[in-house]
Symmetry: none
């Protein structure tokens, strides 16, 4: 027993978090599982029993109690009290919370976040409604058969392209990201049997359109991920996926685009095995 550790009981959620971060590293296995689970799901403490938490962290209940004590509480009940008292702030459900955020001043970070979150949600909703399933299936079909998938997307679309490249790699799908580093266009990497996945939004970037045209000329199938049916990519595309992303001001959150890209990548990955 470490008689020499007279830890102050955390009095606020912040203190709790600080202490949790501090000790996590040097915890033995079971206690560490507790720490990790609780770090990820802190909010549940207020409404869970010891047994619930123990099950979630996959440890016996007594380990949870020991964890509470290491955190500086006398036991679970005392720790839970901290979160139950703080709970009132967390409750306001999504709509109310969003309103609160908005109301603390136009231009404040909180208000901004509320707008972007809302834009993201609307985009996601619109996506499920507007999606053309045939186009999606066609896109998956085309990409699943490609020997190598070339991914291109620049400027605003670049994050999407890099994410696709990441997921393809995870799924062991041969893919090549055309990132324009060094202004090299790697257009000669487009080989028969390959396919191109091109992403671009208004204002459409020249390089992407050029590469798509190039692929087309060489007879490679092109899948386009873009913002409208009238996109200049439409002409070259064998499968055209449009994403109705909602803008807030000059910015767009990319939520819907990311969701669709992820779907595409995972579906293609699964289809290939």
């Amino acid at each position: 027993m470490d008689a020499a550790v007279p830890i102050a009981t955390p009095a606020t959620v912040e203190e709790f978090r600080a202490r949790l971060a501090l000790i996590t590293d040097e915890l033995p296995k079971r206690l560490r599982q507790c720490a990790d689970f609780i770090a990820a799901r802190t909010d549940r403490i207020a409404v869970s029993t010891v047994a619930d938490l123990a099950a979630g962290a996959d440890v016996p209940p007594s380990a949870v109690i020991r964890f509470c004590q290491i955190m500086g509480f006398s036991g679970y009940s005392e720790m839970q009290k901290l979160f139950r008292d703080a709970y009132a702030l967390g409750w306001p459900d999504y709509a109310i919370r969003l309103k609160n955020l908005r109301e603390n001043g136009t231009g404040s970070p909180g208000a901004l976040l509320a707008e972007f979150v809302e834009a993201g949600r609307l985009s996601l909703e619109a996506l499920t409604k507007s999606l053309d399933e045939n186009a999606l299936n066609a896109a998956v079909g085309v990409l699943a058969q490609a020997e190598l998938i070339h991914v291109v997307g620049l400027r605003r679309a670049f994050p999407v392209a890099t994410y696709l490249a990441y997921v393809f790699e995870k799924m062991q799908v041969p893919a090549m990201l055309h990132d324009g580093v060094g202004k090299l266009d790697h257009r000669f990497a487009l080989r028969p049997g390959d396919a191109l996945l091109a992403i671009t939004f208004s204002p459409y970037s020249e390089e992407t359109l050029t590469l798509a045209q190039d692929a087309r000329d060489r007879g490679l199938p092109v899948v386009a991920l873009t913002d409208r049916l009238t996109s200049p990519l439409a002409r070259q595309a064998d499968a055209l996926l449009t994403v109705p992303e909602v803008d807030f001001g000059a910015f767009r959150s990319l939520s819907a685009t990311t969701a669709l890209a992820l779907t595409l990548a995972v579906a293609v990955g699964s289809a290939r095995e």
Copy 2:
């Protein structure tokens, strides 16, 4: 005993509210007190004991139980469960859902998309609930004062980093993206007066952590965008932003992360002029 009132147990908070409104008027005194108190403080149910509620409504505990039964529940525990579940909303067991999807022949792309959209929506909602506004303001403050903002995020976090770099550029905020091209770490580009914005998720990438440590050693402020409070970045961070992203299988939609990143970038951009 009203043998003739086979009330359906409310299954959602809305149903609960509807029923509460319906019966409140024709309730005897004590039960009415319960109804009134609960209508005003519905949120407390999830974290209160019968005794707490009874004290709040100024009735004996048994009256609260009777009230629960009139509301259509077998007792207090059943009623409380409704609210506890509603609070901890989200995070269904994605491991299981993904497995189902796989086993049912990979699921159609459409079904996959629905899952990713749902995950994105939950993440966004959770973000509004869990956001620490102080941390966000602190982060904006730190970055607004930096001469040059260094952005680093690799692998899964890379899309977020590139997106931040894009938005910073749009807003004419001096920023440098550390992308690891050529395995150059550019650590000597960290100059006094600059700040680092580091993004990493479990499993945390070594290079990002190293750069954060480097920045710290040189006395630069570090803003961390990560997935949990126990992240290894927590130690070096002057402002720690955590994003509760719902994973679906091995993948995360990044919706919440993108929304928060965008907020950060735009808020910093505005604050600088």
